[in-house]
Amino acid sequence: MNKMKLVMVGNGMAGVRTLEELLKIARDFYDITVFGAEPYANYNRILLSPVLAGEMTLKDIMLNDVDWYEQHGIRLHLGKKVARIDRSVGKVVAADGTEENYDRLLLATGSNPFILPIPGRDLQGVLTYRDIQDTNAMIEAAARYKRAVVIGGGLLGLEAANGLRQRGMDVTVVHLMEWLMERQLDRTAAAMLQKSLEQKGLKFLLRRQTGAILGTADGRVTGVRFADGEEIGADLVCMAVGIRPNEELARSAGIHCNRGIVVNDTMQTFDPRIYAVGECVSHRGTAYGLVAPLFEMAKVCANHLAHMGIGRYEGSVTSTKLKVTGVDLFSAGNFTGGAGTEEVVLHDAAGGIYKRLILKDNCIVGGVLYGDTVDGSWYLQMLREKQNVAQIRDQLMFGQSHLGNTGHQGQSKAAAMPDAMEVCGCNGVCKGTIVKAIKEKGLFTLEDVRRHTKASSSCGSCTGLVEQILASTVGGAYSPQPNRAKPMCDCTDFTHEEVRRAIREQHLLTIPGVMRFMEWRTSNGCASCRPALNYYLISAWPHEARDDPQSRFINERAHANIQKDGTYSVVPRMFGGVTNSAQLRRIADVVDKYQVPTVKVTGAQRIDLLGIRKEDLPKVWADLAMPSGHAYAKALRTVKTCVGSEWCRFGVQDSTQMGIDLEQAFWKMYAPHKVKMAVSGCPRNCAESGIKDVGVIGVDSGWEIYVAGNGGIKTEVAQFLCRVKTAEEVLEYAGAFIQLYREEARYLDRTVHWVRRAGLDYVKQRVLDDAEGRKALYARLQYALRGEKDPWAERAQGADRHEFEALTV
């Protein structure tokens, strides 16, 4: 069968990214031809600024060289501009007469710089700043001439000005408006930016309308005259006053355009055989000039070209970072405020830090950060998810990382770190390695960086730093992944929430059933989606959906913790941290009998036996005759207690018994992630209830319940939920809270992550205000746990024998 013919016009980042996505999911679907007007293969246009500034070379910024096209069987016409599209027969014709027929056409013609319609615009030495040719022309001019004028004090203009200054020119930036980057910055931030750029040697002329460009008789530029008659001299004039979607080709072919080629949510133009992506399109009335949205478009377009189309592009919230070394700047959304908005401002003029967030109805709608942008992506994420920030308002300005983050020497500003400093303490990755990988491998997303360098791929506490490094290296191209739209994994475009809803509404009971119904791209998922699906099924349909051990991580399949040498560790359950001589004696006997190399008291008031061979596990469990501690599982781990009123002279409640009761009630409970609880007998809080998923503190009149704390990767203080009188109420409220978490959190969310997203108000409304709902939640948890067996006892009696027995030859 003949393959369909796909022709792409335009060889830039958006178009080629679409081809890459397409080849990933449908390698042999199309016979592909590409026309590029420039004589170069695909390069990283956003890194032109570092090239201009002399920090990188053209070779550094190539994304796909000519070999790449050849390897993928793509016919590449470089230096050929397509002159017309003949839609009636389905072909494109280049200016040199080259013709190609198409079944599907992809327009990725990008944008053109806007040229001010003023006298002198054609003079020699008047340039725009858009491609390699412009960049090279500026580098050449910088070597020969002294004075440069950049018209336009926006993002592109400032990057051009900085580059020319780095190359030794005397640069003046001319701007029409009252302050720089007025589309991204407010007056205060712009003033700080201007001051810091002035320190780098740039000069600024604001509120100047350019009237004409002056030149010599033989056509070489000599200066600029403003509307009020003032003149300044110049040997080079760079116009950076904006871009216009390049829609000329599409328009001449009769395709509907309106400030860009108009496309729908599947990136289709008004001619259904013709798609368009990138800066040339107008989507829901918006044309995007930053790379991140273009990549989102590319993904959706590729999906539809591959006939797998379920994805929709629904527009992007964009953010801006300026790629000028040493300047830290971030802006997103509505940063000017207006009716119905309020603002939170932190301004330390001497320290060079300015942060302004605009809130509306307790949600972030925009913001500007200058000097300290570490939390930019956090704010952007909350903005996109319309997260209610009422609860965290008092800490909002200090950011996400102000406490408890470990593993990177307390650093929070990537810019201040030397290349050799370690960023990721888990995987030993230093800043220089990350920067190098981003530049050399053309990485754009956090996921890319994680895959290639492993930085922030383990505990994740350095994610903010890695994002900053990424942002300062690729600049405006970087946009943090919005959690909301993030699919579960590469096997599907559906989010966790969508999958959970389908499981509930369609009464799906098996993993293959979910994959069929939701049209999974892979035949049996991957190591990331299968454990999530397994949890979603057994938590949605307890006693109906069957657990799939092959979709469990080894620890949960073997009911012990795998260690680095392939042996396992065994932590028996000691309810409430209480043990006795019989248990200790059996533990001691096991240690002797199986020659357990290490016995350690854990942080959770239990005993860990390390270095046990897998084949010995069932025998060890039989000999211990103690229940599983689930120290290996996304389940209730432990309920830590203090001795409480039974012994302690300060104790006001029997915390030990309360802890035992909680653990007896909830053990064997699987959850999206591990769940830890603690009960203290008085507010001295010796059981550290303040950093647990559910922390209970005895007070004279009853119990206080705290939720969503965390003592691990990042210390998070638990939040007060309520005060109750009796032990029964503690069980009911804690149980209802945990069940809500089990039903609504994403797999691998700890309670703190989920509560932060859902909001403590929502939790209070479901658990406190709605008494019937609370009882129903608690009842559902009890139903789920009814009849649940101790996995160790079952296996000690011979269940799943194949898991533990090796074959021998």
Binding site: C526, A527, P531, Q550, S551, I554, H802, L807, T808, V809
Partner: protein
């Protein structure tokens, strides 16, 4: 042993050493293939470990009942691949989640490395290894 080598196929007719226990010697076929298990004794999308004189070998079974054999040692830090989650024709190492191709033993890019492969065949519902 060099964990990087990517074409470590053992030579035909490699000498079979005497089994210490002797219990399984009757399972050996004369042409160098050794019967190790019934296919049904390996869980679909799972693996079993074969303890051999040449060290531990992981025998995997995919959803389509294809069977593959690799040395039970991740090229990254030696994790036991037999304990990983099997999906498609890959296994995710239980220690640090590297993905290893079952058919070629290679780590999925951008990771680099290779687990040793062993010839394996299925006949009449039984799995045979050549080791």
């Amino acid at each position: 042993m060099n964990p990087q080598k990517c074409k470590p196929q053992r030579r035909e007719g490699a000498k079979v050493r005497k089994d210490k226990d002797g219990g399984f010697s009757s399972e050996r076929a004369s042409n160098g293939w050794t019967k190790v298990s019934a296919v049904v004794d390996i869980p679909p999308l799972g693996a079993r470990v074969v303890k051999s004189a040449h060290g531990d070998i992981a025998v995997f079974r995919t959803a389509d009942d294809e069977v593959f054999a690799l040395r039970d040692k991740c090229p990254h830090k030696g994790g036991p691949l037999s304990q990983g989650i099997v999906y498609g024709r890959h296994v995710a190492c239980p220690l640090h989640n590297w993905s290893i191709g079952l058919d070629d033993g290679k780590a999925v890019a951008p990771d680099e490395g290779c687990a040793e492969r062993f010839p394996v065949k299925v006949e009449n519902g039984f799995v045979y290894l050549r080791i």
